[in-house]
């Protein structure tokens, strides 16, 4: 009787076990399997864990750069040297810092009185220009390795009026000084090559567009933001807001976008071509916003405000992604986003510059490939489940100082009450009354009167 063919599952253990202690473990996979029926629940649990770990590892504060004798109201980054930061204080001192070691390389007594503006040129990056309340314009050396003392400027020019701000024209050694009006200067010249008279108001801030080299934006004390083109004599356009704008930052990728840090606790992203309404209103701060800086990726920006906190916003978000605060950090006067988009610096009124991580729970330093893969997976899970109520609740939660918390609550009550009253008014308003959107509300007028 012929025997039937029988085969029983028989595995060779050598195919499943590693040979030596120094090998990695063998992991045999089943590629044909039906998807794990509990995979949805497992993925949710993993997302929850990832959210919790994100909060556990959220330790953004890295260190403080101590040394100034007055509130640090200017922070400038070097366009080509990642490790170098320049800061200027209200007593006229300018310090050059080396970020990795958090040490001050050198201190310069730049002016007798507050330093009003500081700018480093992009072309060579070996010199910077400062203007002070003492109406002086000074050129300084900025070598890569600082050996000799830099106490003497290369060049010093007295100005006719008090300058308030300085900005280099992109990709050029020319710079623009604002104060009484706007004046465009060439390097080493004693007088400006062009001036713009803009009325009686002082222009306390000017910033040149990094992409369109001839365009600059300025903020003046009549609560307006105006745009100038160096190729023409008259200003391009302007927009008048309800409160004064403190600083402006141009988008590093989109040449027509800029964000304005306003006194009315908000930041406004404007499209230069359509100034009748802001593109996005960034809300969250509970006091005047002092400074703003874009990340080099152009996806986020950091803002520092008078309410002793820093907020990091996504470019398209009305609410902040992150808030940084410290018990000893007083009013944040200046902020900076480092050029590798990893760090954020804040200069505050208590003479300290603080270094923070831009992504609070990011692991710095070289990552092993498996570590990197695991962190990427966790990031993606958080992104996927951020709308889920339980996961989102954990991701969004930030502990905030009591003053900010109670102020924010109060602002919320005021806002809701205004909205309610607006709704009630509209119920009985005649049909066809125009609806003023939140984006257009702060704008008083735009363009020039004809």
């Amino acid at each position: 009787m012929p025997k039937p063919q029988i085969r029983v599952l028989s595995r060779n253990p050598d195919d499943y076990q590693r040979e030596t202690k120094n090998d990695i473990f063998k992991v045999n996979r089943n590629f044909k399997t039906n998807p794990d029926p509990l995979s949805h629940a497992t993925e949710y649990v993993r997302a929850l864990n990832a959210a919790k770990l994100d909060r556990v590892f959220a330790k953004p504060f890295l260190g403080s750069l101590d040394g100034h004798n007055e509130g640090v109201h200017l922070l400038r980054k070097h366009p080509s040297r990642l490790a170098m930061i320049l800061s200027a204080a209200r007593d006229g001192q300018t310090k050059i810092w080396h970020l990795p070691s958090k040490k001050c390389l050198t201190t310069i007594q730049a002016h007798n009185g507050p330093v009003n503006g500081l700018s480093i040129d992009e072309v060579d990056g070996d010199m910077f220009v400062t203007v002070g309340q003492d109406s002086q314009l000074k050129h300084w050396q900025l070598p890569e390795v600082i050996e000799t003392s830099l106490s003497e400027p290369i060049h010093s020019i007295p100005l006719s009026s008090v300058p308030h701000s300085i900005s280099h024209v992109s990709k050029s050694t020319d710079f623009v000084i604002s104060g009484d009006g706007i004046s465009v200067w060439k390097l080493y010249r004693d007088s400006p090559i062009r001036t713009y008279e803009l009325g009686h108001n002082t222009t306390h801030f000017v910033k040149c567009n990094p992409i369109e080299t001839s365009i600059m934006a300025g903020c003046s004390s009549d609560r307006s933001i105006f745009l100038l083109d160096t190729r023409q004599k008259t200003p391009l356009t302007r927009v008048v807001l309800k409160l004064r704008t403190n600083t402006i930052s141009w988008h590093p990728m989109e040449s027509f976008t800029f964000v304005a840090a306003n006194e009315d606790y908000n930041l406004y992203t404007f499209d230069m071509r359509k100034l009748e309404s802001a593109k996005i209103v960034h809300q969250g701060h509970t006091a005047a916003v002092m400074d703003v800086d874009y990340s080099p990726t152009g996806r986020e920006f950091v803002s520092g405000s008078y309410d002793r906190s820093l907020r990091i916003f996504n470019v398209d978000g009305w609410r902040s992604r992150e808030i940084y605060h410290a018990p000893r950090m007083q009013q944040v006067l200046s902020v900076l986003y480092s050029m590798d988009s990893k760090y954020v610096l804040s200069g505050s009124d208590e003479m300290n510059i603080r270094l923070w991580k831009a992504h609070a729970s990011e692991k710095l330093g070289p990552l092993r490939p498996r570590e990197k893969a695991a962190l990427n997976y966790a990031n993606k899970l958080r992104q996927k489940y951020q709308q889920h109520p339980e996961v989102g609740r954990i991701l969004k939660h930030r502990q905030v100082p009591k003053s900010i918390y109670s102020a924010a609550k109060e602002h919320q009550i005021i806002k809701e009450s205004q909205q309610r009253k607006e709704t009630n008014r509209r119920r009985y308003a005649p049909e066809g009354t125009p609806f003023v959107s939140e984006r257009a509300k702060p704008i008083v007028e735009h363009g020039f009167e004809k």
């Binding site: 063919q5 029988i6 996979r29 590629f31 649990v45």
Partner: protein, 519 residues
């Protein structure tokens, strides 16, 4: 001196000469590479599709969203194709019995020793029998016929990776064995009646439902816990992904214990009477119990009433088993029937009649069914895909009444616990040939076991998520349409109703549409 005129080398030729000098002939691409890529079966594409085929980018409301969705869909489809192509890497090869000629005896009459002779030594060693007679001078019992000394009917459990076996005899004998290598981890007598045994998440811990209370032991036999809350337990089940130890008692109570925290999740009295059969649905963690009235109830720890009650048999439900995908249920009852149910629709699919009293039933990974009738164990082929002929592929007569049946995962082995001990039978074609080491690894080392323990603990599914339909978890809940309520101000007057604006389709859409006058 005359200069030789050099040939004008065109750009095309120049490149060719540099890359492919005439000396070395580059083989034509036809010889080396296949013209057509590997064919992918549509069923494998379906298998790997997690729902992206249902996504229709044309339904997006804005153009930007539409392009984004199209890109995402293309990405997913590429991933599905790659996964389907990777199936070729599977070292397939399920076991089988093939009859050479048609007039051979059917496989039903194959003896185990014949199978052992036909296969290799390693596989033959997987068939073994443990006849467990009296073990010690102080405790023994005689069967009514006075011939054999009994250590009690045996219940047993395999670990999910099919590597370790835990035996529990009714007289208190508990043994933990690494059965392929026949290495004994531990063997004790707990000095009390043992009703059921169950491995916990690793082979280092097991739970024994003793006559009075439930105890948890280490694999060396050290008693770790005595859980007094789980008393008079008849059956134990362990949900490995949820870390829940479920106990069904003789007093018709159901307890869920979280073994990672030691917390009792829920325990309540079911108004069903004593449980006769219990099993778990591995696909969603639901417990199925069968009672004396012939109904099968589905339980979740979140609800005190059964989620579903199925009227299955016209008598006591003796055995229950759910397959690994959670789609099918097989049940046996005192009405001598074996019924196959679709667990999604709760409808009977097939019914088999038996001549004698049926006992236990179990599914294998490849959906073979093993049924016990008294001493005899019968194994049937996959009734869903295969032909429901009604004749078993294998039969075996045990030494005593069969009390427990379980297929060993990832092996072609059926374990049978009976009155006289335990026997391990070879059943070709019942185990899943492909092992996915990320889920269950029969060749785990100590380090791998530790890592897996931590990973599984981190991914422990909370008991609140045990529901019938677990896939509904990441579906977006559609808002119900709001009822139109007439608004009234403080004096009870209704607000003037605004006429609905009809949008002119020729006009471009703008946010200010609703504020334009209706003409």
């Amino acid at each position: 001196m005359k200069f030789k005129k050099t040939k004008k080398i065109s750009k095309k030729n120049k490149v060719e000469n540099v890359l492919h000098p005439k000396k070395f002939k580059v083989p034509k691409s036809n010889d080396v590479v296949d013209k057509e890529p590997i064919k992918i079966e549509p069923e494998s594409l379906e298998r790997h599709d997690t729902g992206i085929s249902k996504l229709n980018p044309a339904n997006a409301k804005t153009k930007l969203a539409k392009t984004k969705l199209e890109k995402e869909k293309a990405k997913f489809e590429e991933g599905i194709k790659t996964a389907a192509r990777a199936e070729i890497l599977n070292a397939d090869g399920a076991g089988f019995i093939k009859l050479e000629e048609e007039d051979d005896l059917p496989t039903t009459f194959l003896k185990q020793h014949e199978i052992c002779e036909a296969v290799d030594i390693a596989s033959a060693s997987k068939h073994f029998e443990l006849t467990l007679p009296r073990y010690g001078p102080y405790r023994f019992d005689y069967t009514p016929n006075g011939r054999h000394l009994l250590y009690g009917p045996y219940r047993f459990d395999y670990t999910p990776n099919g590597r370790h076996l835990l035996l529990g005899g009714k007289r208190g004998h508990v043994a933990a064995i690494d059965w392929p290598t026949k290495k004994l981890h531990n063997e004790t007598n707990v000095l009390e009646g043992v009703r059921d045994v169950q491995w916990l998440h690793t082979e280092t811990m097991y739970a024994v439902a003793q006559k009075r209370w439930t105890h948890i032991y280490d694999w060396q036999g050290t008693e770790l816990h005595c859980i007094k809350h789980l008393h008079d337990v008849k059956r134990l089940e362990f949900l490995p992904r949820h870390f829940l130890l479920v106990a069904a008692t003789n007093t018709s109570f159901l307890h869920w214990l979280d073994t990672s925290m030691g917390k009792l999740v829920n325990s309540f009295r079911s108004s069903e009477g004593p449980f006769n059969a219990m099993t778990q649905n591995p696909a969603n963690g639901i417990i199925l119990t069968g009672n004396g009235k012939g109904t099968v109830s589905l339980w979740s720890p979140n609800v005190k009433e059964p989620l579903v009650q199925m009227l299955t048999h016209k008598g006591i439900v003796k055995g229950l088993s759910v397959d690994t995908t959670g789609k099918y249920l097989v049940s046996t009852g005192m009405d001598a029937r074996l019924r196959l149910w679709d667990l999604r629709m709760y409808k009977q699919m097939q019914e088999f009649k038996f001549n004698s009293n049926i006992g236990e039933v179990t599914f294998s990974q490849r959906r073979s069914i093993a049924v016990s009738t008294g001493n005899v164990v019968r194994v049937f082929e996959d009734p869903i895909i295969g032909k429901p002929t009604g004749s078993p592929t294998l039969m075996y007569t045990c030494r005593g009444l069969v009390t427990n049946l379980q297929f060993c995962p990832y092996e072609d082995v059926l374990g049978v616990g009976h009155e006289q001990g335990f026997v391990s039978l070879l059943v070709p074609g019942s185990g899943d040939p492909n092992v996915d080491a990320l889920f269950h690894n029969p060749y785990e080392s100590k380090q791998q076991r530790r890592e897996r323990e931590v990973r599984v603990l981190l991914e422990k599914i909370p008991p609140e998520m045990i529901t019938l339909d677990i896939i509904g978890l990441n579906r977006v809940k559609k808002d119900e349409p709001k009822e139109e309520v007439e608004e009234k101000d403080l004096l009870g007057r209704t607000f003037p109703k605004k006429k609905k604006q009809q949008r002119d389709p020729n006009q471009p859409w703008s946010a200010l549409d609703r504020f334009r006058k209706v003409e």
